[in-house]
Every structure is written in C-alpha cells, then in structure tokens.
Point group: C2
Amino acid sequence: MAEVEDVRREMRRALTMISGKWKLEILWLLYQRTYRFGELRREIPQVTPHMLTKQLRELEGDGLVTRKVYAEVPPRVEYTLTDEARTLKPAFESLLAWATSWDSVRG
Amino acid sequence: MAEVEDVRREMRRALTMISGKWKLEILWLLYQRTYRFGELRREIPQVTPHMLTKQLRELEGDGLVTRKVYAEVPPRVEYTLTDEARTLKPAFESLLAWATSWDSVRG
DNA sequence: CGGGATCCTATGCGATACTG
DNA sequence: CAGTATCGCATAGGATCCCG
C-alpha cells in the first residue's frame, strides 16, 4: 500500500526523468523510430554534442533509452526507446492535451 | 493546426510549470482543499518561507493557483487551485500511474 | 561519426535574518 | 501570520577544442 510520501517521491522522480532541456525532443523523436546520434543532432540543431550525449546518457541510465553500438568504420550508434518509455506515451499525451487545451483558453 | 515545434514547446512549458522543487507537493495538497500559507509550511516542513513563497508566486503567475488575501489581524492568505489546474488532474494521475507501475517492474 | 575534456555562465535552491 | 532581503552553494546548461 503506497504512502502519500512515496507517491510524491515517485512523481518527482518521473518528472525528473523527462525534465532535461532536450529530453522531450529526444523522446518525441524516438517515439517514431530509431535514431542515430548524428540524426538527432540534425533534428535538434541547437543542441551541442556535449549536451546531447549527456541527455542521452541520463535517459539511458533511467532505463528509457537503449544505446546500441555497431563495430563499424565509420562508427554507428543507434538510440531506441525501451518498453518502459513506450508505456509512458499515454501520460505524455495526456499532459500534452492539457497543455494545448489550457493554452487555447488563455489565448 | 498545430506544428510539431509548437507541440514540443507546449510540452516543455507544461513541464516547467509543475517542475519546481515543491510544486508537486503544493498542487497535491491543494487538490484536496484550500490551504493557508502557514498550513502549507506545516505540511511541508522542509520548505523555507522564502522558497514556499517563490513556488506559490510562480504557480500563481502560471495561472494554476489563486491567492486570496483577507484584510484581517492577524493576516490570513489562502491558496486555491484554479480550474485550469484542476483539469490537469488526469494527466497528473496518468503520469503517476506510469511512475509507480514502472517502479514495480524494476523493483 | 560519435563522442570526451575543459572551462565558464546561469539558474535553482537553501540558510539566515528581519518585518508590516 | 505571512511574508521579504541578502548571501552563498550546487547543479544544469553551454562554448570551445580535441580524439579514436
């Protein structure tokens, strides 16, 4: 039986997992298909390699993204969502629905 | 018709609105009833007056919370959720459901 | 191609003290 | 009771250069 404090802690953790500056964009793209590092860079032009790496490593550490390295020349690295990340989608869309509807009320 | 970039921007804004360190706790409490400043302090013992004020002002600025001042001695200030904040609840719970279910998978 | 290393800035957060 | 003012630290984020 979940205590109220546990609930708040879980919520905080969930938000932290998706609250990095570029994580939303990354997740959004990966919902559609697997991406390579360079492809993500092109889709999100403002992000530096440094930051993109950092965000991807955090997502990976949180179990939302899988990193697959191919032993090729030139090197190839692919990023894919985990099943856990895919089960997030309804919440994602629920939050989005709220964000946009609320916006339309305000103008 | 919403552009992809607008969508991402709205999502980012929505997350920012609820991503302060104590905002989750505050919203959580205000879903149940109206609270006074001092009551919130007692419910969230770790928060300083400074931070509580800051978070409440941000929530107010984002249209999630209403601040009502009573011209009494001693002063009384009550915080209540707006309708916009109440329509957030489904997304809130959807995210919570994901957070807890995902946690149970991992152990 | 897909990063890592280094250095720097901006912001969030907190401790402490004071006030109408 | 319900805040405000000031200071300082920690972390997030970013610019630039370098590398297997």
